[in-house]
């Protein structure tokens, strides 16, 4: 068992755990943040699987843009409810 295999196993277990946390968290903002962490970890798994193109795209879109858009939407919803 090489070092890469160990890292891959740890990342896979963490991916499953964070995915469960993302769908089971009661607060929406927590779910969004767990989704972002899930994207970041999947970047590591893509790099280990030798797909740097996909990893780059996932890092920028999955953990950057999508998180930002979700957070903006939640902010807008909170503002609308406060009125």
């Amino acid at each position: 068992m090489t070092l890469t295999d160990i890292i891959m196993a740890v990342v896979s277990v963490l991916l499953l755990g964070i995915a469960y946390l993302a769908i089971s968290s009661k607060k929406l903002i927590k779910g969004v943040i767990f989704l972002s962490a899930l994207s970041m970890l999947s970047v590591v798994s893509y790099v280990l699987m030798k797909a740097p193109d996909v990893a780059l795209t996932e890092a920028v879109i999955g953990s950057g843009m999508v998180t930002a858009l979700f957070v903006f939407t939640l902010l807008s919803i909170e503002k609308g409810e406060a009125k």
Partner: protein, 251 residues
């Protein structure tokens, strides 16, 4: 009369298609051709039209496709038409967001809950430059390293997102972004038509490809990737602006 012409034309087209598909070496009967032998291996060896022999990084000059990155050589050269479709999909989704959120220049931007202090404003300006330059680097080296127009364009948009988050008063020029997006998309189609005119097929490479691994190589691939990067960056920056503006009239 019009219906008759349409009927005759469609029947003629159907007969033409059936005639051209039967007894054609390129459309053999199902199961008689090993597609992996014909398609993917040809793309890796860069020998769809002619056989250049072994491709060596930094030595081989003027191969059929000059990209050192195989993903790029498929996405922007052999399957460039698909990429045009992807760009169109992104354009339509940006259009949908703009229609739904009723984006106008006179709309006010969403206020932040906190007042950005001096350190945050200056630090975000410095980070903005670094992220922007990384995006430009990824776009320009799309034919040599992983990445290209889509991730690079999104990086440019995320640098603008940073400015939006760190400054309460910041607002981009939405009209300029829309103009840039349209111009970049049109130039992509124009390059495709030039390929049809100067070479044989739509979006075919018509420039010399140079040495594999040089920055100025791979024919039209860097030009197309710069256009895709500008288009994607301006589209996503427009989406961010739409999300961060709100209408004056409250419901």
């Amino acid at each position: 009369m019009k219906n008759l012409i349409a009927f005759v034309l469609s029947v003629a087209l159907g007969v033409l298609m059936v005639l051209s598909l039967t007894n054609n070496d390129w459309f053999a009967q199902f199961g008689y051709v090993d597609l992996a032998d014909r398609v993917s291996q040809s793309y890796i060896d860069k020998d769809v039209t002619g056989n250049p022999g072994e491709i060596i990084f930094g030595i081989t000059s003027n191969p059929e496709n000059g990209a050192a990155n195989i993903v790029t050589s498929i996405v922007v050269d052999y399957r460039s038409f698909d990429t045009l479709g992807e760009v169109t999909v992104l354009f339509i989704s940006a259009l949908g967001v703009a229609l739904l959120l009723n984006s106008q220049d006179k709309n006010k931007r969403l206020a932040l809950n906190f007042k950005p202090n001096f350190m945050l404003r200056v630090g975000s300006r410095a980070l903005f430059a670094i992220i922007l330059m990384t995006g430009v680097y990824v776009i320009l080296h799309g034919h040599l390293t992983p990445g290209g127009g889509f991730p690079g364009g999104t990086m440019i948009a995320s640098s603008i997102l940073l400015l939006y988050l760190a400054d309460d008063q910041f607002r981009t020029k939405v009209k300029g972004f829309k103009l840039l997006e349209g111009v970049a998309g049109s130039f992509y189609v124009i390059i495709g038509l030039l390929g049809l005119l100067l070479a044989t097929y739509f979006l075919q490479n018509f420039l010399p490809t140079g040495t594999v691994g040089d920055l100025l190589s791979a024919g039209v691939i860097p030009i197309v990737y710069i256009l895709i990067g500008l288009k994607v960056g301006s589209e996503i920056a427009g989406i961010i602006d739409n999300f961060l503006t709100e209408e004056e009239v409250s419901l």
